[in-house]
């Protein structure tokens, strides 16, 4: 037998009463904290959702923000939020929806004002979102999250069983709530790309959960003896190396994005990093535990089994 020494199955008690309790307390508290912050502080929505105008400019030499502000004051834009964007050469200016200015010509006027100064300035980006569009984007985005949840619920229910589906979806809700909480607590800007990353995280986190569920289904069939809880725990342990491996490689690529991808994509990358970490945790600790708590048992899985997933492949084809 040539079993390699590097291969070993872990035997952590992921589904012991104590571990589950700790996991539920940690998740419960962080979710409460997130929801609390969302309720009181809310999210720092980008102009994608609130409507408004954003102008990013690049100065050839580093520039003092006071200078930029006074230039804008001259044009009557005293409500502008002016801040550095990465370096002291780059400045981001944000406006709410103006009541007295024609919103679609605002960016041009601002550029004209800034060009009047002594410094050489270059327009990098202008974004203007009208109030109607912002509201629509918010509604559409919430709907998108909702549809992903429904889609997943249906797919997992068909492929596995409804208790597994519920467990998966509850674990799935867990991840975006924590990401939203983080964005709310830190006050990082929440824009369309961050929302897209949340949907990606949902898909990703589910990916891990499904791999574990697949193994649970396999093992429930193979190991006729044994309690459901033991079979589930064994399955999490068996897939643990893979779960951590994949999370690690994905994390590597997202870290590359975070450090090299530039400012435009920072929020997006941050959300993905958090999502991958939290998603891995929720797949290991939350999804199966919830499914177990919901009372999933061997009998639930029996009718939906597709034979090819079973062990016949190895037995039939052994040389």
């Amino acid at each position: 037998m040539s079993a390699r020494s590097s291969y070993r199955v872990f035997n952590f008690a992921f589904l012991s009463k104590k571990t589950m309790l700790i996991a539920f307390i940690i998740s419960g508290l962080t979710i409460l904290l997130s929801l609390g912050s969302l309720a009181t502080r809310g999210l720092n929505f980008g102009i994608d959702f609130t409507g408004g105008t954003l102008v990013e400019v690049h100065y050839k030499n580093s520039v003092d923000l006071v200078e930029v502000r006074s230039a804008l004051d001259k044009g009557g834009y005293d409500d502008a939020v002016v801040q550095y964007f990465g370096t002291s050469h780059d400045v981001m200016i944000r406006f709410g929806l103006h009541s007295d200015k024609n919103s679609d010509t605002l960016s041009n006027e601002v550029m004209a004002l800034l060009r009047n100064g002594n410094q050489e300035v270059e327009m990098r980006r202008v974004e203007f979102v009208g109030p109607q569009v912002g509201k629509e984007l918010l509604v559409d985005s919430s709907l998108a999250v909702f549809y992903v949840l429904i889609g997943v619920l249906i797919y997992v229910a068909i492929r596995f069983e409804k208790r597994f589906a519920t467990g998966a979806v509850l674990a799935l809700l867990h991840d975006p709530i924590l990401i939203l909480g983080l964005f709310s607590i830190t006050g990082m800007e929440f824009d369309l790309t961050v929302l897209a990353s949340i949907l990606a995280v949902m898909g990703y986190s589910l990916n891990d959960t499904i791999v574990i569920f697949d193994r649970i289904r396999d093992n429930l069939l193979k190991l006729r003896k044994g309690e459901t809880v033991d079979v589930m725990n064994l399955s999490i342990n068996e897939t643990l190396v893979r779960t951590l491996m994949t999370s690690f490689t994905t994390l590597l690529t997202v870290l590359a994005l975070f450090f090299l991808g530039g400012k435009m994509i920072h929020g997006f990358a941050t959300s993905l990093i958090v999502g991958i970490v939290v998603g891995t945790y929720s797949s290991i600790y939350i999804a199966s535990a919830l499914t177990l708590k919901l009372g999933a048992s061997k009998a639930d899985l029996m009718p939906t089994i597709i034979p090819k997933d079973g062990e016949q492949a190895t037995t039939d084809n052994r040389p």
Binding site: S2, V9, G130, M202, G203, N207, E238, L260
Partner: protein
């Protein structure tokens, strides 16, 4: 065991080869170029004479383009640097007024690849720079305009038919209200009008002191009116974009009453907005006197003048218009040529009114949403101004000049009259402008992070899975090649989040191989032979790979259908990447492993 038949190896090799060929165009850069094409909906051919004219202009400037590509629809001049391109552009724009001359970046793909239909990926505005506008059509104004027209027409019809009405007006809440004192008269008028205007629905309203009938658009017509308004505006916008000279513009309807306009490479958003959103048009009216047949107008200098209610000619009837200088006064002017119907009407009117004054009215609609105390308020403004009053010296028809405008007003008005009026006012509800330097920087940063992420993953996987890890890495590289070839073939828009999507699929594509290899290790650990372990590893892992990928695909598809612009780009690369990774991570890596390890007696596996 673990051997593929030859045809399977061949098939996989052919697929990979084809993908490599179609991914190749992305390696070549872009040439600064000038694109010369006939204006939209004009049937001007690009032929030898066009090319000759262009070559003469270039010869004068002592410029030699690197290459000239001529197709039936356009002439593409490639230059070696942007300086030559700029020089040639400004010269050609002046010399070829009947064509659309636009600056462009043309992919420098070799001929043999172009012949195969291979193109580089289509970069989104956030990567190539340019403007994105979302315009909303103000339907309320469009309907009000129609109703105001109906008021005029109803009056004329009822007078003609001798059905003396008490009043015809447009009430505050919309519609057209015809009032009578007598019920029988009202019914007769209502009958007549609904026969003549089948697109309207009538509703009788009996008051204590009179009898009214209210006309409104029917639901069905309302939808048609909307559709026509959108279609008409798209045509007009397309004409205007042509006048601006933009290469590869996108003008599409979005939803019920929105239009997306994307202008790659355009930096002067002020002018683009001025031209695209403008609703300026002209009307010609005779000067009248204070009385029921006339109405007051403002003049440019703030005065007031009475003009006759009936219009001689409107902006729609103007065939072509060019901005010139008035020869006598040396002031800016617009030289106008009417269409035949307009010309006839103008001739008849001027013949009867020699030595009487005629006025030119400049009309502009503006709509704009403002937020006051958290509430949206739509501002609708109709600006009417008399720009010129002149005495009719003699009867004239088709050709004449209009003065009374500033230089830039004359240029813009001529352009707008040529391109056609926007029938319905539009409002820009979203704008995204990306400067060219930011776009270039984003591409650079995007590919840097893809490269870094890629290398990190490859090093780690080799370290972890030894020779099988190298197989996975080859599959991973091929995955990127296949993904890029698909994106190029489909000409799907690549955005910055799209590049992030490619990166994310690298992380996820390796997952399939991790699943397989871990399964193989497990099988070996369970005491199976190496060959059986390879077989079982691939077979057993496949269902899991499929399940886990489908769920991510669900998220990808939802993102695609809900997202706009950059987010859509993310959805595209994420979804396609999942599909391609199924092919490369499962089939290609299996093929490589089968080729090298299949059918051999193995003591242990390098996994």
């Amino acid at each position: 065991m673990n051997q593929y038949p030859l045809w399977k190896y061949t098939l996989i090799a052919v697929v990979l080869l084809v993908c490599t060929v179609y991914a190749l165009p992305n390696l070549y850069g872009e040439d600064p170029a000038i694109q010369i094409s006939p204006p939209y909906a004009h049937n001007i051919a690009i032929d030898d004479s066009t090319q000759q004219r262009v070559e003469e202009v270039l010869k004068e400037l002592k410029l030699t383009p690197r290459r000239i590509d001529r197709t039936a629809g356009q002439l593409l001049l490639r230059f070696s640097d942007t300086e030559d391109q700029l020089k040639a552009y400004s010269a050609l724009k002046g010399k070829l007024p009947d064509y659309v001359v636009a600056q462009n970046l043309a992919p420098a793909v070799p001929d043999w690849l172009t012949a195969l239909g291979a193109k580089p990926m289509y970069l989104g505005l956030d990567l190539r720079g340019g403007v994105h506008f979302l315009m909303a059509i103000d339907m309320q104004t469009a309907i009000r305009q129609d109703e105001e027209r109906f008021v005029q027409e109803f009056r004329a019809v009822l007078r003609e038919e001798n059905l003396r009405y008490q009043d015809v007006q447009r009430p505050q809440q919309g519609g057209v209200l015809v009032s009578y004192t007598d019920a029988a008269q009202r019914d007769k008028a209502a009958q007549l009008l609904s026969e003549r205007y089948p697109e309207l629905v009538k509703k009788n309203i009996d008051r204590s002191d009179g009898f009214d009938v209210l006309f409104n658009y029917s639901e069905k017509t309302l939808k048609e009116v909307k559709d026509t308004a959108v279609e008409q505006n798209i045509t007009t916008l397309r004409n205007r974009v042509n006048e601006l000279g933009v290469a590869e513009p996108v003008i599409q309807r979005q939803g019920e009453d929105r239009i997306v306009v994307q202008l790659p490479g355009v930096q002067d958003t002020a002018r683009a907005k001025e031209i695209l959103g403008a609703t300026a048009t002209l009307e010609f009216r005779l000067v009248g006197e204070d009385g029921p047949n006339s109405q007051p107008y403002k003049t440019r200098d703030g005065g007031k003048i009475w003009l006759k209610r009936s219009v001689i000619v409107t902006g729609d009837q103007i065939g072509t218009a060019t901005s010139t200088m008035d020869q006598r006064t040396a002031r800016p002017a617009v030289s106008v040529r009417l269409d035949s119907k307009g010309a006839k009407r103008m001739y008849e009117t001027t013949k009867e009114n020699v030595l009487k004054p005629m006025a030119v009215v400049f009309i502009e609609y503006k709509v704009d949403t403002k937020v006051v105390d958290g509430k949206e308020i739509k501002n609708r403004e109709k600006k009417q101004e008399v720009i010129n009053v002149a005495t009719i010296q003699e009867a004239f028809g088709q050709n004449f000049q209009i003065t009374g405008l500033a230089q830039n007003e004359a240029i813009n008005l001529a352009l707008l009259l040529r391109a056609g009026a926007l029938k319905t006012p539009v409002e820009i509800v979203e704008e995204r402008t990306i400067g060219p330097s930011l776009g270039k920087e984003s591409i650079q940063q995007g590919w840097n992070s893809v490269l870094a992420g890629f290398l990190l993953v490859m090093i780690y996987i080799t370290f972890r899975y030894k020779q099988f890890g190298i197989v996975a890495n080859i599959a991973l590289m091929l995955n990127v090649v296949v993904l890029i070839s698909l994106l190029s073939l489909l000409q799907a828009t690549l955005t910055m989040p799209g590049i992030a999507g490619i990166l994310l699929t690298i992380g996820m594509a390796i997952d399939a191989n991790v699943l397989i290899f871990e399964r193989i290790r497990e099988e070996i650990c369970n005491g199976n032979s190496p060959q059986a372990s390879i077989y079982a590893g691939f077979e057993k892992a496949f269902a899991t790979i499929l399940d886990s990928n489908i769920t991510t695909l669900i998220a990808g598809v939802v993102l695609f259908s809900f997202g706009t612009g950059p987010v859509k780009g993310f959805a595209v690369t994420l979804s396609l990447g999942i599909l391609t990774s199924m092919f490369t991570a499962v089939m290609v890596s299996r093929a490589i492993i089968n080729w090298f390890y299949g059918g051999k007696k193995l003591e242990k596996l390098p996994v």
